[in-house]
Amino acid sequence: MATKAKGKASGKKSSETRLIPIYIMGKKYEVPETLTILTAMEYAGYRHIRGCGCRGGICGACATVYRLSGEYRLKFGLACQTVVAPDMYLAQIPFVPANKAIYDIEKLTPDINSIGRIYPDLYRCLACNTCSKACPMGISVMDYVQALLKGDIAGCARLSHSCTMCGICALRCPAELQQFHMAMLARRLYGRYLQPRARHLEKRVKQIKEGKFDSMMDAIMSLNNHELKRRYARREWEPESYENPDWQPEETKYLILD
């Protein structure tokens, strides 16, 4: 959603770009055919408040619903990533009502019962695939819901990874599931419990807490600028792993090795 800005709609015409008619909430505007829905609305005179976020296709603020001239199908896209088309009828979806459940991630177990208890609507899935057809990110929403029903939390986490949480799936679902919140919970359970913990990280945290790097840091902080620049210039470069996976550093003075 946006508020209409003051001033007349008289955008500068560029000689190369053709203007085409689009209908923003039923009202006709002529806009350059190269613009996205987001920038075409601005060109038409709108100053976005809702319906605009990162402008780069990842935040999910600008989900938009539209129909093209002569087509029966209702389509969905992110306004910042969808180019306008002639006689496009569009409206932005400013907000999707959904109930995120409240839970303590530390007390959950990574299994289907956790998710089914928190979001019992999961079991209402009709496997109709309407959600997948609507997803502006091209995620197979139904497949991740079905993965959950089979107890495959890891599968759900992986399939839903590029979710922007715009909520269009939940809005379209005839069985009224709140898919995007279930997937959020699945990804957190996967990240916390199912992916194995990084043991090298745990070890490093312990070393830092025990003060094993303190003298090293004191030493580098006490260097004068000249010496610091010299060490910077002489850093030893680790190769990329595709070059030499078995690399060992020559200088080990500033490392803690077993």
Binding site: G7, K12, K13, S14, T34, T39, E42, Y46, R47, H48, I49, C52, G53, C54, R55, G56, G57, I58, C59, G77, Q81, T82, V83, I102, P136, G138, S140, D143, R158, L159, H161, S162, T164, M184, L185, R187, G191, R192, P196, A198, H200, L201, R204, I208, F213, M216, M217, I220, N225, L228, Y232, A233, E236, E238, P239, E240, Y242, L255, I256, D258
Partner: protein, 564 residues
């Protein structure tokens, strides 16, 4: 991680036009030879520090003269700053302080901590403040989570592998910043880093790991060890949605006010910051929040379009926190050089200025000119890499020109699958892959055209290693602050800094509040004196700040500094 045919953009002709397709042949022609060299560990040589400084001085947008002026008011008076920043600071308030005399006596909200900004720094500060027993109000301009955090693609640094240490991380960070960083902030940044990754693991963030759970880590520009933790190419979005989810698990202690940016800070009779005035963008009403401490976490200034550059930043990145805190007396540091990310999208124009993550070069994509030749090491620090691209386009006749007259160079992404195996681009760069696929470009087989784009503020509010400013009651974390990165930030250090300093602020603020005397009267006296200063120094303007949202009404083309 996409499982089916990506959705196409609706209108418009798709893919590279014939002219550009023809130019791609030169890139394809040299590719086998370049691939063989990389496999033999032969790279384009890195510039020495002196060579790097030379190219910066001649080509970096902020090293050249012009586009800047002397600031006339406040703690940084007489300092030379970008015109856009000087405009912001030499502005009057959106409100008339006299109109609020009565309102300030009856605050609409009272809380322990008020956090301004709903991005990563604000979220981390809120979670730690809550853990320390405080009640929190987060006020944010757009939706909770709308921020530059959500747009971070490449990774987050932490020295947690055996062949790496905080010592090397410190050295890389100081050198990347041209040794202008505050060493105490860099020590905090590098020593806290592994702790932060561990905390994120606990929250349930999905990192890229091998089967045994080891982090898969890559390098970045100017970074001597593999230290970049990632989640495909959307680590920022992954972290932000987890943190937002966690905050929503504590609605009693953390209240979030969306579409409610701060327009002014409030102080009490002891001159300590004690709240803020918020503006509801939808109802157009003001509200008064009284708090025992305020945390500034409003992010950066990309949407001010410094030097006329396009930006990778989100819609709300208008530098609000800079001017609010500056009026309250907080000095700015390291504000001279903004960060222009080397690889902003040039084609398709619909994505003009959007970020192409540095991870693309970490995985092996090279900078190639029109003639098919590589012209810079892929992983120079960002300011140096950007300057090399501008030089190639302006002076060396290596530029590509798009049908709409924009300049750029090739970023040879097909190298990635050739080095790491087919399918790597689609898996490791899934969001980028989709973004181009929508316009009929397959970045696993076709290169991308790039040019520098305004990316990061680098400097900002002066803080100490606990995120405290000079003004009692006012803390700060994230992109709004300065000194951590010096004059140039490295990849993966901003996602890290919002966590390190968000956490530190969240902890410190509870100590501050326990010791703080209760203020009696809210006031805008600092604003009155700032206005008086503006008038005294002869700043004649009708400008008001913060601007809250950029004005793109009736615009037909994106911002662009170098178009011929």
């Amino acid at each position: 991680m996409l499982t089916k045919e990506s959705k196409m953009a609706e209108g418009q002709a798709i893919g590279y036009p014939p002219g550009l397709k023809e130019l791609i042949q030169a890139v394809e022609h040299t590719r086998p030879e370049r691939l063989a060299r990389v496999k033999a560990n032969q790279h384009f040589p890195r510039l020495t520090r002196k060579e790097g400084e030379k190219v910066l001085k001649s080509y970096h947008p902020d090293y050249k003269p012009g586009g800047r002026r002397k600031l006339r008011v406040g703690a940084n008076k007489s300092e030379i700053l970008a015109n856009e920043v000087a405009d912001l600071l030499e502005s009057y308030s959106r409100i008339d302080p006299d109109a609020f005399d009565d309102r300030l006596k009856k605050p609409d909200y009272e809380t322990d901590v008020l956090i301004l900004g709903g991005g990563g720094a604000g979220a981390v500060a809120a979670l730690f403040a809550r853990q320390n027993g405080l009640r929190v109000v987060i006020a944010t301009k757009l939706r909770h989570g709308d921020s530059n955090t959500v747009m971070a693609e490449g990774g987050i640094q932490a020295a947690d592998r055996p062949f790496d240490s905080p010592y090397h991380h410190y050295l890389d960070t100081m050198g990347g910043g041209h040794f202008t960083n505050n060493p105490y902030l860099v020590k905090a940044l590098t020593m806290d880093a592994p702790l932060i990754i561990r905390w994120l693991e606990d929250l349930g963030v999905m990192f890229d790991k091998d089967k045994a759970g080891n982090m898969i880590e890559l390098k970045g520009g100017g970074i001597c060890r593999r230290r970049m933790h990632s989640s495909a190419d959307m680590i920022g979005a992954e972290i932000m949605r987890v943190q937002r989810d966690e905050i929503r698990n504590h609605p009693k202690e953390i209240q979030v006010l969306e579409f409610s940016p701060a327009v002014e800070l409030l102080i009490d009779e002891t001159k300590a910051v004690s709240g803020a005035i918020l503006y509801n963008l939808e109802t157009r009403e003001y509200s008064v929040v009284k708090a025992r401490a305020v945390i500034m976490a409003t992010g950066g200034f990309g949407r001010l379009h410094i030097q006329g550059f396009p930006t990778t930043n989100h819609y709300g990145a208008t530098g609000d926190g800079l001017v609010l805190a500056y009026r309250a007396g907080v000095p700015l540091v390291n504000m001279r050089y903004a960060q222009y990310h080397p690889t902003g999208t040039v084609f398709p124009e619909q994505n003009f200025g959007l970020l192409i993550t540095e991870k693309v070069r970490t995985l092996g994509a090279q900078f190639i000119n029109m003639h098919g030749q590589e012209f810079a090491h892929p992983l120079e620090p960002r300011d140096v890499a950007s300057s090399c691209i501008i030089r190639e386009c302006m002076e060396r006749n290596g530029r590509i020109v798009t049908p709409t007259g924009h300049y750029g160079v090739w970023l040879d992404t097909p190298m990635i699958d050739l080095l790491w195996g087919k399918g790597t681009v689609e898996k490791e760069l899934s969001a980028k892959y989709l973004q181009f696929k929508r316009y009929g470009i397959d970045i696993s087989t076709e290169p991308i055209i790039v040019y520098p784009t305004l990316h990061y503020q680098n400097g900002g509010l002066e803080i100490n290693e606990w995120g405290a400013t000079r003004v009692p009651g006012l803390f700060a974390a994230g992109e709004v602050t300065g000194g951590i990165h010096g004059d140039n930030r490295l990849m993966g250090n901003s996602l890290l800094d919002i966590h390190v300093f968000g956490r530190r602020v969240g902890i410190k603020v509870s100590e501050f509040i326990k010791a703080r005397k209760k203020g009696k009267r809210l006031s805008l006296s600092h604003l009155r004196s700032y206005h008086a200063d503006l008038r005294k120094t002869g700043v004649k303007t009708k400008r008001v700040a913060p601007i809250l949202l950029p004005d793109y009404v009736h615009r037909s083309a994106p911002a662009c500094p170098h178009k011929f």
